[in-house]
């Protein structure tokens, strides 16, 4: 095995890219769960976002419009979940699982004519000054814009939940929907908005795979990223910064094990492939402190 073939700067740089789709999907789901809704359909919304983004980007030639389309597609699919669970009071777990299966099928159908096409180029930014700093520059400041969009969303969600009135109401709805209703807050409206935000973020995460990481459309290309995002939300105790940490850890070990495979490490490939999942779970379980939102996964009906 030749470890010198692994370039640590490249490794750290690609870690940020590898973690971005999971960060995007997970931060959306975090908001949804803080509002008291368990949407297990992240995988379905991600892949729908991936295909919507790809179609829009190929037809318009603009990756930015592609991401916008992905967000809209994910949000529309999540609205289906919202109507079923919030208005028709269907079971959230079952509906979420169905949403994943539906999303996988729908995306395969929509992407029929797009297999084998390359997505329009989405150039990396070379941020002036910051990007020129040795080591830190190439690791942090020479990525495509979506990496930073993801970080901005995480920061915004953190500030929204911690400092804003709307964020407080959202947490209150997730903590005790009966009490929030008694105080006159619109539980279902808040939850529908949260669900749509979650769908839009998952869509962005999916489109990041199809437009930047791969960048092509293939059926089932999210390959479980949505489930990892879901797990990271839980293990991060529903807190944005821990979520970022978990996603980077997962991304880091993913990139590392790929590098090790390439370098011909004397460990079976299967174990290496397992490593990111194991490492993420172990670290986040050890760190785990905190409790789920009080009303998570429960249907709300304003009965008398």
């Amino acid at each position: 095995m030749d470890l010198s073939s692994i370039n640590p700067i490249l490794l750290l740089a690609s870690l940020m890219v590898a973690a971005t789709p999971i960060i995007l999907a997970a931060i959306g789901e975090l908001v949804v769960e803080r509002a008291g809704v368990l949407n297990l359909g992240v995988e379905g919304m991600m892949i729908t976002g991936a295909v919507c983004g790809f179609i829009v980007a190929v037809n318009t030639g603009s990756p930015w419009l592609g991401f916008l389309g992905a967000a809209v597609g994910g949000a529309i699919l999540s609205l289906l979940f919202g109507v079923l669970t919030q208005l028709l009071l269907s079971n959230q777990v079952a509906t979420g699982l169905a949403l994943t299966l539906f999303g996988l099928g729908l995306s395969a159908l929509m992407g029929q004519g797009y297999i084998g096409i390359k997505a329009p180029e989405f150039a990396d930014w070379h941020i002036p000054l910051l990007g020129d700093i040795p080591i830190i520059g190439p690791v942090i400041f020479q990525h495509d814009p979506m990496v930073y969009v993801g970080l901005i969303i995480v920061t915004a969600v953190w500030a929204f939940l911690k400092y804003s009135r709307a964020g407080l109401i959202l947490r209150a709805v997730g903590e005790n929907h009966e009490a929030a209703h008694a105080l006159g807050y619109h539980v279902i409206r808040v939850r529908l908005l949260a669900i749509m935000f979650g769908g839009a973020c998952a869509g962005l995460g999916g489109a990041y795979l199809s437009l930047v990481r791969v960048p092509q459309w293939t059926e089932g290309m999210t390959a479980g990223a949505g489930w990892i995002a879901l797990a990271i939300v839980v293990f991060a105790s529903w807190r944005p910064w821990r979520l970022l940490l978990g996603a980077y850890l997962f991304g880091g070990v993913t990139v590392l094990q790929l590098n090790l495979q390439a370098a011909g490490a004397a460990i079976a490939v299967e174990y290496l492939s397992m490593a990111p999942y194991l490492a993420t779970i172990v670290v986040l379980v050890i760190m785990r402190a905190g409790r789920a939102p009080g009303s998570l996964g429960q249907s709300f009906h304003a009965s008398r």
């Binding site: 009135r165 407080l168 109401i169 947490r171 209150a172 903590e175 005790n176 009966e178 009490a179 929030a180 008694a182 105080l183 006159g184 807050y185 409790r291 939102p293 009080g294 008398r304």
Partner: protein, 507 residues
């Protein structure tokens, strides 16, 4: 009290199958403390929810300070000066005090300012509260303070309180009453709902009595006896439990140095509890909630195993026995929390009956259920204990609190136990149902069973117990004969610190 603040005229609200309010009219004056009385299901909650904008009446009108008042949602009611403290606290456990208060306000100032306001108001009304604490860690009394301060920061004209004292200690009740009197003196009207008639007599200026959704009378609680008010609520003569003189028999259950670690973070450790219980007696155990009541019941029912010798029943060490084995030999228990602990809310009454009665009533054979037999048993409980429900197939959740409580207690009594342990048997239960439950417990003791009643309601304990002991921080005082005990005696038995606080507040 000629200055009318809120006028209700002909309020009617019907739900499918039941009229919750029928042509309800009365007035509340400025600064008046107005009591709203009624049994469970009399329509009190619906009425106050109408005033608070959570329920839209089918017909009728309200006027607030002379102008029409029809709040479509609570924020409109709050803006008009109506505030409400809920029966089941509308608080958010994971949020801190200041955040909880901000959620109840229309245009909250920044957190830091709320914290300052909370401190100011809590000083002014003698309600100590730290705005940065997480609500989940507060005691019931402190949680209520959060609700009250949330209301007070809005400068309400009318404060609605739905059963505010049901979870409070006597000390906390007296602090609350001080606050309410201060508010009333400042001109805030208070609409006060409670089952506890003695409280209403000490606090309220006027009372309106509801029965089956209709106003059946008004009275001046300061001059009307509690018994008369109770009879007005129930509509019939109130049956007062009679304590028959009876012989106590041999010791059937004894606890010897019962000690156990707190089962969870918010639990209380049991410390060296020693007591003998005789056949035919009712042992009353008083004390403020959270002093080991739940743990004591768990140790007696078998939910929490202890060293075998710590609990002996009919001279047999049973500390390690699990609940069904104890049921088999005649030791039964009814825990406090009826929804979720004593009964499974979404299961039918028959299924709930099976859950504890299966051993003694032989409701199963070779692992299969005898549905017909179980149904007959449940029907028997419903009939004997006057549980008001269409039938045993109804879910436990559909019963009102008092009715479910009668079912839960009745289910154990019908199994003819030799020892019955009950925790808070009449919590949140109206006067007539409470009297029926107390009578049933006395009848059981008269048949030679030993009954252990754990309650926070000292009047209840004095009414039915033969001997009284106090539970304080997991320790049990030496039981004393209940007849002849004075309030001071009981206060001393309940233990030091709390009494000092009462004295301080009254001074």
């Amino acid at each position: 009290m000629t200055d009318v603040l809120l006028q209700l005229r002909g309020l009617t609200k019907a739900y499918p199958g039941v009229v919750a309010n029928k042509d309800v009219s009365f007035d509340i004056g400025r600064g008046e403390v107005h009591a709203l009385l009624g049994e469970n299901g009399a329509g009190k909650s619906t009425l106050v929810k109408t005033i608070y904008g959570l329920v839209k009446p089918d017909s009728g009108a309200m006027t607030l300070e002379g102008s029409s008042f029809q709040p479509p949602e609570p924020r409109v009611a709050r803006a008009a000066g109506v505030a409400m403290v809920f029966q089941h606290f509308s608080l958010f456990d994971a949020l801190n005090v200041a955040e909880n208060i901000a959620l109840g306000m229309e245009n909250p100032p920044p957190q830091r300012e709320i914290a300052a306001q909370v401190r100011a108001v809590s000083d002014q009304y003698g309600l100590p509260l730290d705005p940065t604490r997480i609500v989940g860690e507060l005691s019931a009394g402190e949680r209520q303070r959060v609700e009250i301060i949330r209301c007070l920061l809005q400068d309400p004209k009318l404060l609605i309180m739905d059963e505010p004292t049901s979870v409070l200690t006597p000390q906390e009740v007296s602090i609350l009453f001080e606050t309410l009197r201060k508010l009333s003196a400042e001109g805030t009207a208070i609409l006060y709902i409670s089952h506890k008639l003695e409280e209403i007599r000490t606090l309220c200026d006027n009372a309106t009595v509801l029965r089956l959704g209709e106003v059946v009378g008004t009275c001046d609680p300061r001059t009307t006896s509690a018994r008369d008010m109770a009879e007005l609520m129930v509509g019939t003569k109130l049956h007062v439990p009679k304590k028959a003189t009876r012989e106590t028999g041999e010791v059937i259950l004894s606890l010897k140095g019962l000690s156990a670690k707190a089962p969870h973070r918010f639990g209380t450790a049991l410390r060296d509890i020693t007591v003998d219980v005789q056949r035919g007696e009712v042992l009353g155990i008083g004390g403020v909630a959270g002093n080991g009541q739940d743990e004591l019941v768990a140790a007696l029912s078998g939910e929490m195993p202890t060293s075998a010798a710590m609990v002996t029943y009919k001279n047999q060490p049973i500390g390690q026995m699990h609940p069904n084995a104890r049921r088999k030999i005649g030791l039964l228990a009814a825990p406090e929390e009826r929804m979720g602990h004593a009964a499974a809310p979404d299961m039918s009454l028959t299924e709930n009956a099976i859950m504890t009665a299966t051993t003694r009533e032989a409701l199963t054979s070779r692992g299969f259920l005898h549905w017909a037999k179980a149904r007959r048993f449940a029907e028997g409980v419903i009939k004997t204990f006057d549980v008001r429900t269409p039938g045993p197939a109804n879910a436990a959740r559909s019963l009102s609190g008092g009715n479910l409580q009668k079912f839960v207690i009745g289910r154990e009594i019908m199994q003819a136990p030799d020892v019955l342990v009950v925790n808070q048997p009449t919590w949140g239960v109206d006067a007539s149902a409470a009297a029926a439950i107390r009578q049933a417990l006395l009848d059981l003791a008269a048949k030679g069973a030993a009954v252990i009643v754990i309650s926070q309601d000292l009047d209840e304990l004095m009414e039915i117990s033969d001997r009284f002991a106090a539970l304080n921080e997991g320790r049990l005082s030496k039981p004393r004969p209940a007849s002849g005990l004075t309030v001071e005696d009981i206060g001393l038995m309940l233990g030091g610190a709390h009494d000092m606080e009462v004295a301080h507040v009254d001074a």
